[in-house]
Subunit: 266 residues, 3 copies
C-alpha cells in the first residue's frame, strides 16, 4: 500500500512499486520508476526517468524482491535519469546532476551534491555538505567527510592489488579537496585542508593543509601558499574565502562555526 | 501551440511541451521528451528517449517554467538518451553519441560532433567542425575553436583553486588537439596546431604547433616532427593529411581554404 | 514475426521490433526497446529501459533498417539503461552495470562483465571471463584477452596521431591487469600477467609479469614482488590468489587448468 500525498505531482508514465511514500509538494517527472519501499521527503523534485529504489542483486539474479528501503530527505533536487538503489538513506536538500548512479548501502548526509554521471559504488558514507562534481567515481568503503570537495572526473579506488578481496576505502577528511582528474589510491587518507592537485595520483596520505602534485604525487608545500592570481590574496583554507551554497554565507565561517558546529576545524 | 510538420515522424511515447516546432523530415524515436520552446530543423534524427529543452534551475528549484529556447539546426543526428538544455543554439548537421549532456547557454556551430557520455557544462562556445570524442568533460566558459579535436576522456577545467568563484575557461584554438585522457587546467590556451599528448596535464599555454607531454606537461618540440610510424610521412598539421568528414575532402585543404575560409590558418 | 516464449516476462512499456526471439525465463523490465533481429537467451535479466539492437548509422543517417542481428547468450544480467548495438554476438552469463554502451561489430565471450558507464566503441573482441569495471573506454580494434582485468576509469586508445585514419587497437593478453585510471596508448600490448599501475600512461608494450608505473610508464620490476600489505604474501599472478567469480573457485587454478583449459598460462 502506498502513501501518496494529494499535494504531490506525478507526471504521466510514472511507475510505482509497493509501500511507496511520497510527501506533499513532491514533483515526479515523466516516466520515473519508483520501486518498493521508497520514501521521498516533501518538496523534492525528481527529474524525468529517474529510477529510485533500483533492484539489488537478489532480484537481478533470482527475481526475489527483498526489502531494501530507500529514504530521500526533504527538498531534494534529483535531475533526470538518476538511478539510486535501495538500502540507502539520504538526508535533506540532496542535489544531483543527470545520470548519477548510487548503489546500495550508501549513507548520505544533508546538503550533499553529486554531479552528472558520478558513480557511487555503494557501501560508503558521504557526510553533510560534501560536494562531488561531474563524473566522480567512488569505490566501495569510501568515507567522504563534511565539506570535502571533489572536482570533476576524480577517481577514488579501493583495491590495492586488483583483483583481490582486500577493500581499503579512501578517507577524505573535512574540507579536503581533490582536484580534477586526480586518482586517490586505496586506503589513502587526505587530511583536513589537504589538496590533491589536478591529475595527481595520490599514493600516500596527504598531510593536513598540504598540497600534493604529480604522478606519483609528491608534497609541494602548504595550501596556505596558494594565492588568487589576480588579487594576490590567499585562498586556502577555502572556508574563509568561499561561501556559495555554504551555511556560513554572509556570516563568515568563524562566527558560524562558533554557533553551529565546533567539531569542525577552526 | 506547436508546429509539427506533417512530414515529420514521431514514434509512440513522445512527449511534447508548448511552442515546439518540428520541421519536415524529422524523425523522433520512442519516448523522447521535447519540452517548451524547442525548434528542431529539418531532416534531423532524434534517438530514443532524448530530452530536448531540459529544465533549468528555475523549474527544478521553484517549478517556474521560464522561457529557455533550444534551437537545433537541420540535419542533426542526436543519438539516444542525449539531454540538451534550453537557452542553447546549435547549428546544422550536429552529431552526438549516446547520453551526451549539454547544459544551458551553450553556443554550438555547424558540423560539430560530440561523443557518447560527453558532458558540456554550459556557458561555453563550440565553433564549427569541432570534434569531441567520448566522455569529454567541458567546464563552463570554455571556447573550443574551429576544427579543434578532442580525443576520448579529455577534461577541460575552469576553477584554478577549487572551490572558488573564479572561472577561467580553457581556450582551444583552431586545429588544436587534446589527446586521450589529457587534462587542461583553468585558463590554459592551446594555440593553433598545438597538441596536448595523451594523459598530459597541461598547466600552461601550449604554443602554436608545439607538443606537450607528461605530468606536469612539458614542451617536447614541434608537431611537425611527428611521423606516421609505417610510412615515415609527417602527420601534422593534420589538415594536410586527414580529410574524413572535413569539407576539403577530395579537394585538399589549401585549395579549399582559398575558396572558403581564409581566416583559417594556412 | 517474433518468437516470445510464454515463459518470458515482459513488463509494461516494452517495445518490440521484428524478428525478435526471447527464450524461456527471460525477464524484461519496464520500457525496454528491443529492435529488430535480437535474440535473448534463456533466463536472462534485462533491466529497465535498455535498448538492445540499437540502430547503426544506416538508420540514423538514411532511415534504412538494415539487418544487424544481436545475440545475447543465456543467463545474462544486463542492468538498466544499457545500450547494445546490432551486429554483435555475446556469450553466456554476460553481466553489465548501468548505462553501458556497446557498439556494433563487437564479439564478447562467455562470463564477461562490463561495469556502469563503460563505453565499448565497437569492432573489438572481448574474450571469456574478461572483467571491465566502471567507466572503461574501449576504442575500436581492441582485443581484450581471457581473464584480463580492467579497473575503473581505464582508457584504451587506438589513434596514434589524432586525427588520423590509422587504427591500432590495444591488445590485453590473458590475465593482464590495467589498474584504475590508466591509459593504454594505441597498439600497445600488455603481455600475460603484465600490470599497468593506477594512473600510468602505457606508451610501450608491457612485458610478461612486469609492472609499469608513471607518466610515461616505466618498468618497475616484476609483479611477483608485490605483496599483500597485511599478510606479506604474494598476490600475483592473481589466478593463484583470487577466485571470486572464477571457474576454479574451490578447486585452485592449477588443478582446474589441467582439467579445463591448458591453453591458459600455468
Amino acid at each position: 500500500m502506498n502513501h501518496i500525498s494529494d499535494k504531490a505531482t506525478l507526471m504521466p508514465g510514472v511507475v510505482l512499486g509497493d509501500n511507496v511514500t511520497i510527501e506533499a509538494g513532491v514533483y515526479i517527472d515523466y516516466q520515473c520508476i519508483i520501486r518498493d519501499n521508497v520514501h521521498i521527503g516533501r518538496d523534492s523534485f525528481i527529474g524525468a526517468r529517474c529510477i529510485l529504489g533500483e533492484y539489488l542483486a537478489d532480484f537481478v539474479t533470482r527475481r526475489e524482491r527483498g526489502v531494501h528501503p530507500l529514504t530521500i530527505g526533504e527538498g531534494a533536487a534529483i535531475r533526470s535519469e538518476t538511478i539510486i538503489y535501495g538500502d540507502t538513506v539520504i538526508g535533506a536538500r540532496f542535489q544531483t546532476g543527470h545520470r548519477v548512479t548510487i548503489r546500495e548501502c550508501t549513507t548520505i548526509g544533508d546538503d550533499v551534491r553529486i554531479g552528472t554521471l558520478s558513480d557511487v559504488q555503494g557501501h560508503c558514507t558521504i557526510d553533510d555538505h560534501a560536494s562531488l562534481h561531474s563524473n566522480v567515481f567512488v569505490a566501495p568503503d569510501a568515507h567522504i567527510g563534511k565539506y570535502a570537495w571533489l572536482s570533476p572526473c576524480v577517481t577514488l579506488t579501493n583495491d590495492p592489488t586488483p583483483p583481490s578481496e582486500v577493500e581499503r576505502g579512501v578517507v577524505l577528511e573535512p574540507f579536503s579537496i581533490v582536484a580534477a582528474g586526480a586518482i586517490v589510491l586505496p586506503g589513502v587518507r587526505v587530511h583536513t585542508d589537504g589538496l590533491v592537485a589536478a591529475g595527481a595520483i595520490a599514493t600516500k596520505d596527504v598531510q593536513p593543509a598540504s598540497i600534493v602534485v604529480g604522478n606519483p604525487a609528491r608534497e609541494r608545500g602548504s595550501v596556505s601558499q596558494i594565492r588568487n592570481r589576480d588579487t594576490g590574496e590567499p585562498v586556502y583554507p577555502w572556508r574563509y574565502h568561499f561561501d556559495r551554497g555554504m551555511p556560513w554565507r554572509g556570516l563568515g565561517y568563524a562566527a558560524w562555526r562558533e554557533q553551529n558546529d565546533t567539531d569542525l576545524p577552526e
